[in-house]
């Protein structure tokens, strides 16, 4: 079981993701370079947070055309696990692997703090060790996290159980006051129709050890490990 973490120019959560995989959940992990066209046998590819290509044009708009993204696209279409965190989520939206787009936060501010999200679905590669509606405490850090999709698109996401995480209060109630960016329907994370591609704005790779204030990020990665184990058996 092997993880690959892509480094784009401007990625800055690449080492956090690497640390999470290697030291916290103790699995094999390798960095993947944006100019390469090889996923080096990864079973799960991580698109990390950061400011790829300086967020020029739109967040994720340039990274989408990096040579490695051709392979990621193909890998995802074949059912491979791809998780995009924060800027990684923005890249997946631009690539079209996930539906919708990001708008500027309604506050227009860079929001950097711990938030609460609720696991809406637990039958996914990314949330299968969570209880239904379990509340996770995970930090966000972004300016463009205001998820947008057409009304029709939102209805599709709901019908197909593609909304995986929603912002909530500490008790797990969906509450606009606990939505950090104005995202439609308090959406914090969604997956594609097949369920193998996940995008989320909060940073689970930043909270896998007690010293960091929360260990809840582990749930996401332990779910991936659990899913891949099941597939190996």
């Amino acid at each position: 079981m092997k993880f690959g973490v892509i480094i784009f120019p401007g990625s800055n959560c690449d080492f956090d993701a690497y640390q999470m995989i290697r030291s916290v959940i103790k699995k094999e992990v390798e960095f993947l370079w944006h100019q390469d066209e090889d996923l080096r046998g990864s079973d799960c590819v991580i698109l990390p947070g950061g400011f790829s290509y300086g967020d020029y044009l739109r967040t994720g708009a340039i990274a989408r055309f990096a040579p490695i993204m051709k392979k990621v696209y193909q890998f995802a279409r074949e059912g491979g696990l791809v998780i995009g965190i924060c800027n990684g989520f923005q890249i997946l939206l631009e690539t079209g692997l996930l539906p919708g787009a990001m708008l500027r936060n309604t506050s227009l501010r860079f929001v950097c703090k711990y938030v609460y999200i609720r696991a809406e679905e637990t039958d996914t590669p990314y949330s299968n060790v969570c209880q239904k509606y379990q509340v996770l405490k995970i930090p966000v850090a972004h300016t463009d996290g205001n998820y947008y999709i057409s009304e029709k698109g939102l209805a599709k996401l709901k019908d197909n159980n593609q909304i995986i995480f929603r912002y909530c209060n500490p008790q797990g109630n969906i509450d606009a006051a606990f939505n950090p960016n104005g995202a439609l329907y308090n959406i914090a994370g969604i997956c594609n129709l097949k369920g193998n591609v996940l995008g989320m704005m909060p940073h689970p790779e930043r909270c896998g050890e007690k010293i960091l204030g929360s260990e809840d990020g582990r749930y996401v990665f332990e779910s991936i490990v659990n899913y891949l184990k099941g597939r190996e058996d």
């Binding site: 708009a61 939206l93 631009e94 919708g100 787009a101 708008l103 227009l108 205001n146």
Partner: protein
């Protein structure tokens, strides 16, 4: 440049679609309200790109600039674009 090729000078305007919330425009409007300007009804923000390029004819130029705008300059999920050819 071969004899046949001509330089096209274009401007591509990109803006959020009707109905898509524009937090920047809303905030700028609020600032103008606070500054005491009356009658400002709405502000929609956007951006533009000046692009010069060569093609053999106008038809090819139009096709190319629309393709570039659709593929990269605008995100069709939230944005519209408009192309203008300069003299």
């Amino acid at each position: 440049m071969s004899k046949k090729e001509k330089t096209n000078r274009t401007v591509v305007y990109v803006r959020l679609k009707e109905g898509v919330l524009d937090p920047q425009g809303t905030t700028i409007k609020r600032a103008l309200d606070d500054m005491g300007y009356k009658g400002i009804e709405e502000i929609r923000s956007g951006k533009f790109f000046e692009i010069s390029f060569t093609t053999e004819n106008k038809k090819e130029a139009s096709r190319l600039i629309h393709e570039i705008s659709d593929k990269l300059l605008a995100n069709p999920v939230i944005e519209d674009f408009k192309v203008e050819f300069m003299k």
